[in-house]
Each structure stands twice: as C-alpha cells, then as structure tokens.
C-alpha cells in the first residue's frame, strides 16, 4: 500500500500535513518511516515507570511535537494532554489513563505505518 493511503486512519488532515512539508512527499516519507524508531515513547514509559515526572514531561512533549508535525493528530493530542497533566503536577495513578491513551494512539500509528509497502 502506498504511504499516504496507509496512514489515512491516523493522519487527520493529509493536505495540511503535506503542506507543512512544502509538498515534499519524499521528505515526509523519510520521517514518517523513521517514526517507529523514535524512542520517545519508550523513554516516556520508562520515565513514568520510574516516577521521573520531569523526564516524562520532556519525552511526552517531544513525542507530541513529532506526532503533530507528522500529522498524527490524535497521538499528538493525547501526548498534549499528558504533558498538561504532568505540568500541573499530576503524578502516578492520575496519569495512567492519559498514558494509556498515548500508548494506544502510538500503537495505532505504528500499525498504520507498517501497512505501507515502503
């Protein structure tokens, strides 16, 4: 499957996303395909598990940025909410649902990417 088609479930606004990349599909492709290697998700998990909330905030924030750039709107949104909560000082149990949401959206994106015959 071609990339954009594969990503359609997770990229809300394809047109906007490509516009962000100046219409350079190859550039988008490069980074979209690199996304699975992005460590921020796992780092976030680690930090959350370790209770290192400032680190968790940073990783969540970075994840948010990448996701937003690549058009993974829901993932970005979930990460944003996690960041907000973390900034407000939420810890531990309060964050679980938000973290779970991020985890889920992340998996979705990875799955979508996997479907691409790139």
């Amino acid at each position: 499957m071609e990339l954009m088609e594969a990503l359609r479930p997770v990229v809300a606004d394809e047109e906007q996303t490509l516009r962000r990349f100046m219409g350079n599909l190859a550039l988008y492709r490069k980074f979209a395909l690199k996304f699975p290697q992005d460590e921020n998700m796992s780092l976030l998990e680690e930090a959350a598990a370790a209770g290192d909330w400032p680190a968790a905030e940073r990783f969540a924030h970075t994840l948010k940025g990448v996701a937003a750039n690549l058009g993974f709107a829901e993932l970005a949104q979930a990460a944003a909410e996690l960041v907000t909560a973390l900034r407000q000082g939420a810890e531990g149990a309060a964050l679980s649902p938000l973290l779970a949401e991020v985890r889920a959206r992340h998996r979705e994106v990875l799955a979508a990417i996997a479907r691409c015959d790139c």
């Binding site: 906007q16 516009r19 962000r20 990349f21 100046m22 350079n24 550039l27 980074f31 940073r58 924030h61 970075t62 948010k64 940025g65 990448v66 937003a68 750039n69 690549l70 970005a76």
Partner: protein
C-alpha cells in the same frame, strides 16, 4: 566597506524533524546552518554572525534553551542586527510575551500550519533588518566622516587663529613677542590667582585655554586702517574711535569662523577680544562694563596688555622702564583694575619682567599652539593649513584690492614667486614690452626674451644674491628693449620677500619698473648743453678741460697739442657793425673752423672771442706750426667780409713736451699767445721755455684761481 552578505539562516532545534521542516521551507532562499541545542547555536553565531540573516530558535532544548540563547545574543548586542524567531509549541501568551520581552522579532507556533506565511514573516523581518543594518552602517560612516571633518575644522581653526595672530602682528609692525608675552603673562597671572584663590576653581586646562585665547585679543586690528594702526603721533578723536572698534571687529571675525562657536575656547576668545579694554570703573570700551561684570579672563589679559604696552617700544612711544611701568599701573594712571588682580600683578611683576622681557629673542620659548583645539604640537607649514571659506574670502578681497591698486597706479609692477618660478606683471607691462603678463619658467624666459642685455642680467642677478631680510631693497638702472625694439632706460626698484621660521628663505621679489628714459635723455641733454657754447654750438671751456684731462689720464699717453686762438680787432667789429654782426661772425667761425680741422680735433669757444683747438695725437713742432699757420690764414683770409681787418693770434703748446697738467698747459699757452700778440698779432707762437723770462701779463682768460 564590504560587509559579507547576510545570506544564512540558523535553525536551532533539538528535533531533527523540526529542523528538516524549517530547512525545507527556507533552503531555496537562504543558506542553512543548523544547531541542535543552544550551545551549538552560539558556536555557529560566533563564527558566522555577520552572515546571519535570521535565527529560528526553539525554546526547549538541552544544554542551553532558547531563552538562554536569547540572553547571550542580547548581551552581545546582536539582536539589533539579527532578527530572532521563536519557534515554539507553547501556545500560551506568557511564553510569547516573554519571548518578545527577551528580544525576539516574532513567535511562530509549531507545528507549522502555513509554511508560506512563515516564509513571508521571516523574509519581511530579514528585509527590515537588512535595511536597518545598511542604515546603521551609513550612519556610522557619516559619523566617521563628520568626526574627521570636525577634526579638520578644529585643526583649521587652530591654524586660522595662529595665522590671524601672526597677521595682526605683522600688520601692526609689532614683533612676534607681543602675543607670546601676553599669553605667558596671562598664564602666570592666572596660575597665581588659582594658587591664591582656589575659590575661583581655575583648572590648569582652563588656564591654558585662556592663555591661548589671549593671543586673539587684537585680531580685530586687521580691520583697522594702516594709517591709524601705524600712526606715530597722537590719534585724532575720530581715529581713536575707529581704533576702539578693534574690539568689536575681533568678535565679528571670531563669529565668522565656522563651528568655532561650539567650542569652549570660543567663549574665552570672544570675551577677551571684546572686553580687554574695559575698565574696572566702567569707563572702558566698547560696552562700558564695570567691576565683576567684566569677565575675569578679559581683566587678566587687559592687565597684561597694559603692562606690555608700557614696557615695549611702539610706533607712538618709547618703552618705559619696568619700575616706572609698574608704578603707573599701581597708581591707576594707566587704567582701572580689579584690586585683587592688581595686587597679584604687583606681587609677580618683577618675576614677569624677568621671565618675559629680559630673555633674549634667541632664548624664546618654542612656539606653542593654542590649547583646547586638539591640535598636534609643532609648527604647521602654510601648505598644510586649510582655510575656512570666510577667511579665504577675506584674503581674496585683500588680493583683489592689491591687484586693483597695482593696476590703477598705471605702473609696471611685478610679483615673482621663486617656488613656482613664475612672475606676474600689471597690464602696463604688456603695453610697453608686448610680452605676456604671466610667465612660468620665468628665470629661463628672461634670458631668452631679449629685453635685457646678458651682462646687465648677470650684474643684477649677482647683486640680488647679496640681499638679506634686513637689507631687502634693491634699486638699479638698466636699459631694456621695449616693444618695437627701442632701448629705453628704466629704474628697477624691488624688494625681496622672506619667509620661513627664521625668515631665511627668499620666496620671491616684488617691485616696480619705471621708465627714466626721458630723465636720462634730459640729463644727457643737459650734460651736452653743459659742454657746449650756446651761441656757437662749439664745445665750451668745460668740455675742453674734460677732454684735456682725459687725454692726460689716458695711460696710452698719446701726445696732443693745444692752440689758443684770440681774435684781433673783434671788438672793432662789434663797435662798427653791431653785436648781431659780431655774433654772426662768431657763428661763422664755429661753422667753418672745425672744417679746417680733423674729425678727432676739438674746437671750443672758451671766451668772448677766444677759441681753443685740441689736436689729438699731434706732438711735433713742425706740424703744430703748420696747423697754427693754417688757423691764422683762416682768420685772415676766409672770414666774413674783406676789409674787416680781422685776424687772430695763436699760442701753441704741446703735451707732454710743454706741460703735463691742464693748468700748466694753460699757462704756457697763454704765454705763447701773449708773445704772438706782442710780436704784432696775426701770427702764431709756439711755446718756448725762453718766454718765461719775458714780460708777461696773464690774460683774463686764465684767472689764477685754484
């Protein structure tokens, strides 16, 4: 000045993706540099700050975050020349505000929704800063130019002041000492004042400035006519009124110097110029200020000036001795002064006199330039002076006046400059000589132009070399060839011009050529007249004596003879025929007798009816006798009407045989003549030593005066 082009965008973000997206937006228009954190970013900035058109800055980064970068950029003053864009995911207004407060140009949120807008926003800012930078550079260049010009002006002002001071001195005939002494005296008085009365708070810089300004006190005199300035006698009331104006004129001159009024020195110069003739009691001029209203510096200069005037020689007075001058000041005879200053003066008067007036000229302090005008020490040769327009205009006016006066005089005046080897004449020159008024390579030209004979030129050039600054005038007479080829006598009257620190360099000459041809011809005529007998046109006795003396003095020592001819019965002619007939007869003799003689002989009328003939080169008796016989024959046979009974008696002498001085020859000729007469007239007699023993009555012809 070439500045590197600002063509580079620095993208600072720890996210490679963010950097890539931004690069993608801008790479077509800019060269891109990337940095993944604040520290790296600053490294790039350090290397390439002059190339950076803009900075795109993320906030959250490891090592140094966005605000950290901003702070450093601000500290280095780079935010004025490089626009910074904050690229941030934070949407809160606080962050944005903080960004702006820290000096960012604009805040761009990420993720970027509209790249083209971002491009435009960044592009606009880059453009704006480019313009701003150019402007800043232009302003900086202008500032540098203005600074340089200011400096030039200050130097020019210093030169102008020096020059004006010198001109005054030169024009009023006073020595350069006066200004120097006033300056020193002012300095000394002020130093004493500062030491005794610290309340006045006179700093050394201020004292120096006032001392420099003191040099200007009489510049207004440049506008006072010469005849008043240099009048040896007492000035009339009107003349004195005009003289007083030099105070105000000085101020006018100072005010006309551009940019001078902005300088601190100006105030002192102005006050001193204007008020140095005010009196403590208000009876001074021009404003009649009194007491403390008179600026302190003016008072000091006033005092120094009065003292200097008293002890120096001026056109209008001889110098007073120091103690007398001091007493005159103390008693109030020479002006009313500030009692405090007067007291100080009296205390240091002796020292002042010692230091300034007893030192020889050669021990004089080196010329010091006015302080406060930022001028380097040392004398600036005139070539380096830049003159203000106003001063140039003044000088030009003077030059014009000189030019017109020269022309109006109708004389041939000239001005020769050695450095350019050029000479300039008034128009009369062209009229008389038919040559150009202005000539380059003048020294060459004069040799070739043919107006002056080479030997005359050589003589004059030689004599000019002997001129000195003390003995600068030269006068001579020379014959020149004018237009048309005629040789005319001129009087050349000129003056050598001197310059240089000790006035040792002759810079040229200026002078006058006056035709004295008429005079010379006239005098030649008179000399001629003096040598000739009016009635007959023959030479006269003076001429004879001259001729004889010359022949005697001639080292060649050629012999000559003299015939002294005395008419017999001439009185009878006058009595019978009248004086007119007698005159006519004499003229006839004058006409015909020389024809009987050789061209080298001289026929003179030396008395009423007495003649003499100078026979050059003739020394032999026989020949002399022959000649004398011919003369007798002439008078007897060839004159006038027959039957008049006219004849002549002739006495002959020879040189050196019969005498070696004019007087001796005269006496012996007379004896010989007497002998001829006593033998019956109508004959000649050669002088013979034996005649001395005979009876002789000296003729009235030869009075025995000595």
């Amino acid at each position: 000045m070439q500045t590197p082009c600002r063509d580079t965008l620095l993208i600072v973000d720890d996210s490679e993706l963010n950097r890539a997206i931004l690069r993608e937006i801008f790479y077509r228009e800019y060269r891109i540099e990337e940095a993944e954190n604040g520290r790296r970013a600053l490294e790039v900035v350090a290397r390439q700050q002059d190339r950076l058109a803009a900075l795109l800055l993320d906030l959250v980064m490891p090592e140094l975050d966005g605000f950290g970068v901003l702070e450093e950029l601000s500290r280095q003053g780079l935010l004025e020349s490089i626009p910074v864009f904050l690229i941030t995911a934070e949407t809160s207004a606080d962050i944005a505000l903080q960004g702006y407060e820290n000096g960012v140009m604009d805040v761009i949120s990420k993720p970027i929704t509209d790249p083209s807008i971002v491009r435009k926003r960044v592009g606009n800012a880059v453009e704006l800063f480019r313009g701003r930078n150019q402007l800043a550079q232009l302003v900086e260049e202008q500032v540098q130019t203005i600074k340089a010009q200011s400096e030039k002006l200050r130097t020019a002002n210093a030169s102008i002041i020096d020059m004006l001071s010198s001109v005054i001195e030169f024009r009023s005939g006073e020595s350069g000492q006066h200004v120097r002494r006033i300056r020193q005296a002012t300095r000394m008085l002020l130093q004493l004042l500062a030491a005794e009365y610290p309340a006045y708070r006179l700093s050394p810089e201020e004292i120096e400035m006032v001392a420099s300004a003191a040099a200007m006190h009489d510049i207004g005199k440049i506008l006072i006519p010469d005849y008043i300035l240099n009048k040896p006698g007492r000035l009339t009331a009107e003349e004195f009124e005009e003289m007083k104006n030099h105070t105000v004129y000085g101020c006018e001159i100072l005010e006309s110097i551009p940019f001078f009024q902005e300088q601190e020195l100006f105030r002192y110069c102005y006050d001193i110029c204007r008020h140095h003739h005010e009196r403590w009691d208000g009876l001074g001029y021009p404003d009649g200020l009194s007491g403390g209203d008179i600026p302190l510096w003016s008072q000091v200069v006033s005092l120094a000036d009065v003292y200097d005037a008293l002890v120096s020689e001026r056109v209008y007075k001889k110098p007073y001795p120091h103690p007398v001058a001091v007493e005159m000041i103390r008693s109030g005879e020479c002006g009313a002064f500030n009692p405090l200053l007067l007291g100080l003066f009296l205390r240091c008067a002796d020292e002042l006199h010692q230091a300034l007036y007893l030192q020889d000229e050669t021990g004089a302090a080196p010329y010091s330039p006015p302080v406060g005008l930022g001028r380097a020490a040392g004398y600036h040769p005139p070539e380096e002076q830049r003159l203000s327009d106003r001063t140039l205009a003044l000088l030009e006016r003077e030059r014009q006046k000189y030019h017109w006066l020269s022309e109006m005089s109708g004389e041939i005046l000239f001005d020769y400059d050695r450095q350019s080897d050029s000479v300039e004449f008034t128009e009369k020159y062209q009229e008389v000589f038919g040559d150009n008024l202005r000539t380059l390579h003048a020294s060459d030209h004069i040799h070739r132009a043919g107006q002056i004979a080479p030997e005359d030129l050589q003589r004059i050039e030689g004599e000019l070399k002997a001129l000195t600054p003390e003995s600068a005038l030269y006068r001579t007479e020379v014959q020149l060839t004018v237009r048309g080829g005629r040789r005319v006598w001129f009087e050349l009257y000129m003056r050598s011009l001197w310059e240089g620190e000790s006035g040792q360099v002759c810079t040229g000459y200026m002078g006058k050529l006056s035709s004295i041809d008429e005079l010379k011809r006239e005098s030649a005529r008179w000399r001629q007249r003096a040598m000739h007998d009016y009635l007959t046109g023959l030479y006269n006795r003076q001429a004879l004596e001259t001729r004889v003396s010359e022949a005697i003095r001639d080292p060649a020592g050629s012999p000559f003879s003299l015939l002294f001819v005395d008419l017999d019965n001439f009185k009878a002619v006058n009595d019978t025929k009248g004086h007119l007939a007698g005159d006519q007869l004499l003229r006839e003799i004058a006409e015909k007798l020389p024809q009987k003689m050789r061209a080298t002989d001289m026929v003179a009328r030396i008395g009423g009816d007495e003649f003499a003939v100078f026979l050059e080169g003739l020394g032999k008796e026989a020949l002399l006798a022959k000649k004398a016989g011919e003369v007798c024959h002439f008078f007897r046979e060839e004159l006038g009407e027959q039957g008049l009974g006219l004849s002549a008696s002739v006495g002959c002498v020879r040189y050196p045989a019969d005498g070696q001085s004019y007087k001796a020859l005269l006496q012996r000729a007379d004896r010989a003549l007497y002998t001829a007469k006593s033998r019956g007239k109508n004959q000649f007699a050669l002088y013979d030593g034996e005649m001395e023993g005979e009876q002789y009555r000296p003729s009235l012809l030869f009075p025995t005066e000595d």
